[in-house]
């Protein structure tokens, strides 16, 4: 059905969350390549070194990260390139949600703790941002 390989970047430092994300994404059965960075500096450097053709299709960023937090990373990424950014966090603070959208986030998702829910969310995100366009 979908033959194309999608490139994702995931900025996340929690090993458990990385495995959970990968498992859910893998379950959907879409061909994806995920680059994982456990801090913002590395992710931004990597993004800046990529040429136009190899840019990722989607970026997922956790908010609670060491050094630069996810919102700062979001801001810097949005300043340089247009790639849909999905904030993926365990916080549901109104302040964070507002701040993320102000900084140009394309979506704010509270990390589900149920695998089937995660699959549905990821599937919808991919369909909305990548397949429909």
């Amino acid at each position: 059905m979908i033959k194309k390989i999608f490139n994702f970047i995931l900025v996340e430092d929690n090993e458990d969350d990385i495995l959970f994300f990968k498992t859910a994404l893998n379950d959907i059965g879409i061909n994806t390549k995920i680059e994982i960075y456990n801090n913002g500096e590395k992710a931004i450097d990597a993004l800046n070194s990529l040429d136009k053709l190899n840019l990722p299709n989607l970026i997922f960023i956790d908010i609670n990260l060491p050094c630069k937090n996810g919102i700062e990373i979001l801001k810097e990424m949005k300043e340089s390139k247009y790639i849909p950014v999905i904030m993926l966090t365990s916080s549901d603070s109104e302040k964070d949600i507002k701040r993320c959208y102000e900084m140009g986030a394309d979506l704010y998702v509270k990390k589900p703790n149920d695998i089937s829910e995660y699959r549905i969310i990821l599937k919808q995100i991919i369909e909305h941002f990548l397949i429909s366009t």
Partner: protein
């Protein structure tokens, strides 16, 4: 002319009385200033009118500064400056020594707890000359009067005056001396009392400070605990959901049972942590964050709507007046209080038609606070638990009987405390309960 003589006499008496009263007034006013001056200054100020009124040449005040201590010379009158500088606060005597009490009228008065009057030192058996005349201040002393200062039947000091000429002490003068001693006594007593009060006040405020600090620590502990426990719990929940999704079908019936227990325990932990987090929010958030005027009737309608399924399943009734007052506060918090109290009344209820009657309790309402009563026909609560039900995670029943973590009322109480408001209960076992809360009235 006896009449004239009488007249002169009575004029003299009046004049003397006025002087005496003036001296007492002076002494009293000095006493009321004691709090701002030290004991030495105070004694000097009292000693002066004490000696001047009856034209004494010298005066001394001795005081015990601490119980069981030595007697200190703390004030002098009429002595040269060198004398005061040399002996004030330095001359210390021991009341227990016979030698001292025999030779010093002032200490004799203390030891005997009686006024000592020496009209003529040459004919006195108090061996007075030995110290005073020869070694301390070489002047010939003819007459001496020493009054003890007594507190709780214990001599704590004395006030003494000395004459270089022979002096006769009349009743009036003796009564004046006694009055002076009494004023000193009550002043010292008052001073001691004040010091004690100050000490306990200091102690109390220190204890309060410590309590506030401990409370803060507890609040931040609750915050950290609830916040940091969420993270690993979320991980557990995530991987349980993977196991459930991918492996549950392969589990044996026994394994399924174990797995179910893990899931149940995780759910319980989630509820506890969320309750802990709400409690922490209630104690950390400032109440002025949200200060809306809220119509309690609308809040009640909303809560009733939210609880529709629960109310219908219990065949319950919620009754409240058509008119409800307006209060001030956060919509979310006041709503959660109402929801909590109403669902408690329904939950702990075995009646066929559980009923919650909400009313305004005028008796406990004030100008600034509205008191609301939640009356139910539920199982009631024994008096011994009336305080404990507001403790965190306090439950009175097993999970099988009634579900819940036991945090609800603790959170309600915490929120109300933030508004300077109260919650209390009137209830007997099997006779239903009345929960009363006060809320800030919207003016």
């Amino acid at each position: 002319m006896p009449l004239l003589k009488n007249n002169i006499n009575s004029n003299e008496v009046i004049e003397r009385t006025i002087k005496r009263l003036k001296a007492i007034e002076d002494i009293s006013s000095v006493c009321s200033d004691l709090f701002t001056s030290d004991l030495n200054t105070f004694s000097e100020k009292v000693l002066k009118p004490f000696c001047e009124l009856t034209k004494a040449d010298f005066g001394l005040v001795f005081l015990l500064k601490k119980p069981n201590d030595l007697i200190n010379l703390i004030a002098t009158y009429g002595f040269p400056k060198e004398f005061s500088d040399t002996y004030n606060n330095k001359l210390q005597l021991n009341l227990d020594s016979d030698d001292v009490t025999d030779n010093w009228p002032t200490l004799r008065a203390m030891a005997k707890k009686k006024i000592v009057l020496i009209k003529d030192t040459d004919n006195s058996n108090v061996g007075f000359t030995k110290y005073f005349k020869d070694s301390i201040y070489p002047k010939t002393i003819k007459s001496v009067a020493a009054v003890p200062i007594i507190i709780n039947n214990l001599p704590v000091g004395s006030i003494t005056k000395y004459y270089t000429q022979l002096h006769t002490f009349d009743d009036e003068e003796i009564s004046f001396m006694k009055t002076t001693a009494n004023i000193i006594t009550s002043t010292i007593e008052r001073n001691q009392l004040l010091e004690e009060t100050k000490k306990s006040e200091t102690k109390l405020s220190k204890v309060i400070e410590e309590l506030v600090e401990v409370n803060k620590e507890l609040d931040s502990f609750v915050y950290i605990a609830s916040h940091d426990l969420r993270e690993p719990l979320r991980t557990i929940e995530s991987f349980i959901s993977i196991l459930n999704d991918k492996a549950n079908s392969k589990f044996s019936p026994e394994e399924k049972e174990y797995f179910l227990r893990i899931i149940k325990a995780t759910h319980k932990m989630r509820r506890l942590i969320e309750d802990l987090a709400s409690l922490s929010r209630a104690s950390r958030e400032a109440i002025d964050e949200e200060n809306n005027t809220l119509d309690l009737k609308i809040i009640l309608m909303e809560v009733q709507f939210e609880l529709t399924a629960f109310i219908e399943s219990k065949n319950a009734k919620i009754i409240y007046p058509d008119e409800m007052p307006k209060v001030k506060g956060s919509r979310e918090k006041i709503t959660s209080i109402f929801k909590n109290l109403i669902s408690n009344g329904l939950k702990f209820n075995k009646s066929n038609t559980p009923t919650i009657k909400i009313s305004i309790d005028e008796k406990n309402s004030t100008e600034s606070k509205v008191c609301i009563c939640f009356e139910d026909n539920g199982i009631g609560i024994k008096k011994e638990y009336h305080e404990r039900i507001f403790n965190l995670f306090q439950r009175l029943h097993s999970q099988d009987e009634y579900e819940g973590t036991g945090a609800g009322l603790a959170i309600v109480k915490k929120v109300l405390e933030k508004y300077n408001c109260n919650i209390w209960i009137e209830s007997k076992e099997d006779e239903g309960s009345k929960f009363f809360i006060t809320l800030p009235r919207a003016l």
